[in-house]
């Protein structure tokens, strides 16, 4: 969520699919990918077959197999693209005083999640037991965490971060504050009674100066 995603090294190899040589081949591959996203949106990945993806695309499963080894290969291709978007678009700016500018980042994160809710749905579905996709998820998570650590340390140097704050663990909590409520909101469809702006305001408070004396205990 801050600028250090590129710092995290990975030996994870993304799929390129079976690269089509012709324009028609590209169109067919895109048709499969678009169909897969629609199917994933409705049913996730675990219970879905290549045949169903082919049917949704109006193609035979034989044609689908010409482009992708299996459904995980399709997801691998899609999540590779998503990871690039995450790299480019999930940054939280820091203001002139050295504080995180949270509100617009929350709203952008919610937008990104909505645009890619089918992929996030599958990603969460595949978190456990550990596998290549959960490893990638953990890597993205750690990239976010390191970004928050860097931002809070910058604030510390500027004298604005709360003295004595456990920066490493606070950064972990900050990532969780973005990830899970967004998942429950967008993928599970909970909290439809709440506006995005309210979520952004609360996150802004928790990653700002807190809710203060309004809290008892």
């Amino acid at each position: 969520m801050t600028t250090t995603q590129d710092d995290v090294q990975s030996d994870w190899t993304p799929s390129e699919g079976r690269a089509p040589a012709s324009k028609r081949g590209h169109r067919t591959r895109n048709r499969i990918l678009e169909a897969a996203v629609r199917v994933f949106q409705e049913r996730g990945l675990v219970d879905v077959t290549m045949q169903e993806i082919g049917r949704e695309a109006g193609l035979s499963s034989g044609t689908v197999y010409k482009y992708f080894r299996d459904k995980a290969d399709i997801f691998r291709f899609l999540v590779t693209e998503l990871r690039q978007v995450i790299r480019e678009e999930t940054t939280i700016p820091v203001d002139g005083d050295g504080r995180l500018v949270v509100r617009p980042a929350v709203l952008r994160f919610l937008e990104l999640y909505r645009d890619n809710s089918a992929l996030y749905r599958v990603w969460w579905e595949l978190l456990d037991p550990p596998n290549e996709f959960s490893d990638l998820w953990a890597e993205v998570h750690e990239g976010y965490r390191k970004g928050f650590v860097a931002a809070l340390k910058r604030g510390e140097r500027a004298g604005v971060t709360k003295p004595g704050l456990d920066i490493e663990f606070t950064a972990e909590l900050a990532v969780l504050l973005f990830e899970r409520p967004t998942y429950t909101r967008i993928v599970l469809g909970w909290d439809s009674d709440i506006e995005d702006d309210q979520v952004a305001a609360v996150t802004d408070a928790l990653l700002g100066s807190g809710l203060g004396s309004t809290v008892t205990g």
Binding site: G44, V46, D47, R99, L100, R121, W124, E125, L127, D128, P130, S134, A138, H141, L152, G155, G159, V160, T161, K162, P163, L165, D166, F169, T170, E172, L173, A174, L176, L177, E179, R180, P181, Y183, T184, V187, L188, W190, D191, I194, Q198, V199, V202, T203, A205, L206, L207, G208, S209, G210, L211, G212, S213, T214, V215, T216, G217
Partner: protein, 142 residues
């Protein structure tokens, strides 16, 4: 216990899971209800969830595939949020207090899930609760 004996008590693996999830729900709501402060509730949440970590991992695995379970999990979250929101009262509106409570529950849900998966270091529940409570009260900036 033999598989046959197990079937004497539960019709299926799903029935056994549902029973365990209900036990978790009862235990966590009782613990939150008894919590005398938000921080104490956060500690209770972590400790009870650790005790039922297998149930919660199983829950996470079927959350998107079983609408009935997702609904049950959502209801439990609401019940817990209501109990936590009581300690967030004051100048916060009831609606905002409930939103903050839901977000805290989500954070702890993911924290305990990641911990049970070995994705994050296990910490003392009191320390985790104190860090989160500190964030609620004072944020991260002076």
């Amino acid at each position: 216990m033999t598989t046959g004996a197990l079937y004497g008590h539960f019709d299926s693996k799903a029935a056994l899971f549902e029973e365990l999830f209900q036990l978790y729900g009862s235990k966590i709501t009782r613990a939150l209800d008894a919590g005398t402060s938000l921080e104490a509730q956060l500690v209770q949440w972590i400790e009870v969830s650790r005790e039922y970590r297998g149930v919660l991992r199983a829950s996470a695995g079927i959350l998107q595939r079983r609408p009935d379970h997702a609904a049950a999990r959502g209801r439990l979250r609401e019940a817990c949020a209501g109990l936590m929101a009581w300690h967030l009262r004051g100048p916060l509106t009831q609606r905002d207090a409930r939103l903050v409570a839901r977000m805290l529950i989500d954070v702890l849900d993911q924290y305990t899930l990641m911990e049970s998966m070995g994705r994050t270091e296990r910490r003392d529940a009191v320390d985790v609760a104190a860090a989160l409570h500190g964030m609620v009260l004072e944020g991260v900036y002076a």
